[in-house]
């Protein structure tokens, strides 16, 4: 049995890679991928602790989270398509209409 600390450490690494991507990337597609990494870090935690406690609730929450991530990705990509039609770019620094 894999110690749960290993899974949680891997999840922390995924979280940190996602945070790094969120802080540095300007391409909106890469930002979406970074958000997915952060979400998958949470999913990994859910699965690891569900296995640790022998409960299936964590697995059910993981399925819910995956479905939420799918919905978020669908809407995010649709918004990206819309933005690209108007700005001709997915660089977040070029979309200045809603900037304060």
């Amino acid at each position: 049995m894999i110690p749960v600390a290993y899974a949680v450490t891997l999840s922390a690494a995924l979280l940190c890679i996602g945070v790094y991507g969120l802080l540095t990337q300007r391409n909106a597609l890469r930002i979406l991928v970074a958000v997915e990494l952060v979400l998958n870090a949470a999913n990994l935690n859910f699965a690891a602790f569900a296995n640790y406690h022998g409960s299936m609730d964590g697995i059910a929450f993981t399925l819910f989270s995956i479905a939420l991530a799918a919905a978020e990705a669908a809407v995010g990509l649709a918004i990206l398509i819309h933005v690209y039609r108007h700005v001709r770019s997915v660089d977040v620094l070029k979309s200045t209409r809603l900037r304060w």
Binding site: T9, L23, G54, S55, A60, A70, A71
Partner: protein
């Protein structure tokens, strides 16, 4: 404070590394997490019970949410009947941005670059002054990347 993109990347890397160090240090110090635990989550009947008995409302709400997200994504990304009016949106060209960056105050910049709005405004001012010098008639109507009604 002017932060160049390279410094910003380094700062982000340091932040991510610090976050990982804190989290990994915390996790490695918890003795109870050093083994695999008492249980095992490979019970398919338990998953079915969790999904369709304990959390059935959440499952139904999630189904509605997914359907709404799918319809919303289709509506947002549907083909446009008319092409977008280029005069209606701010899309400064790269030349506008470079010209504005050359003329802009670095203290106002974000990540070492001026914002696109500042770039468009600086390029517009330069174009307007050049146009006024040459013809004496052109004004704000020659502003690149700005809406006509602004």
């Amino acid at each position: 404070m002017n932060i160049t993109p390279g410094r910003w990347r380094l700062l982000a890397f340091a932040t991510a590394l610090l976050l990982f160090a804190v989290l990994a240090g915390t996790f490695s110090g918890i003795e109870a997490w050093q083994d695999g635990g008492a249980g095992s989550a490979d019970d398919l009947e338990g998953l079915v019970k969790a999904l369709f008995e304990d959390h059935v409302v959440a499952l139904e709400v999630l189904g509605i949410l997914l359907t709404a997200a799918m319809i919303g994504a289709l509506v947002i990304a549907r083909p446009l009947l008319n092409p977008p009016d280029s005069a209606h949106y701010m899309t400064p060209s790269d030349d506008d941005v470079k010209a504005a960056q050359a003329a802009a105050d670095p203290a106002k910049s974000t990540l070492g670059q001026v914002s696109r709005r500042e770039a468009a405004e600086a390029a517009a001012a330069a174009a307007a002054s050049a146009g006024a010098a040459s013809t004496g008639t052109q004004g704000a109507g020659a502003v690149p990347g700005r809406r006509e009604d602004e």
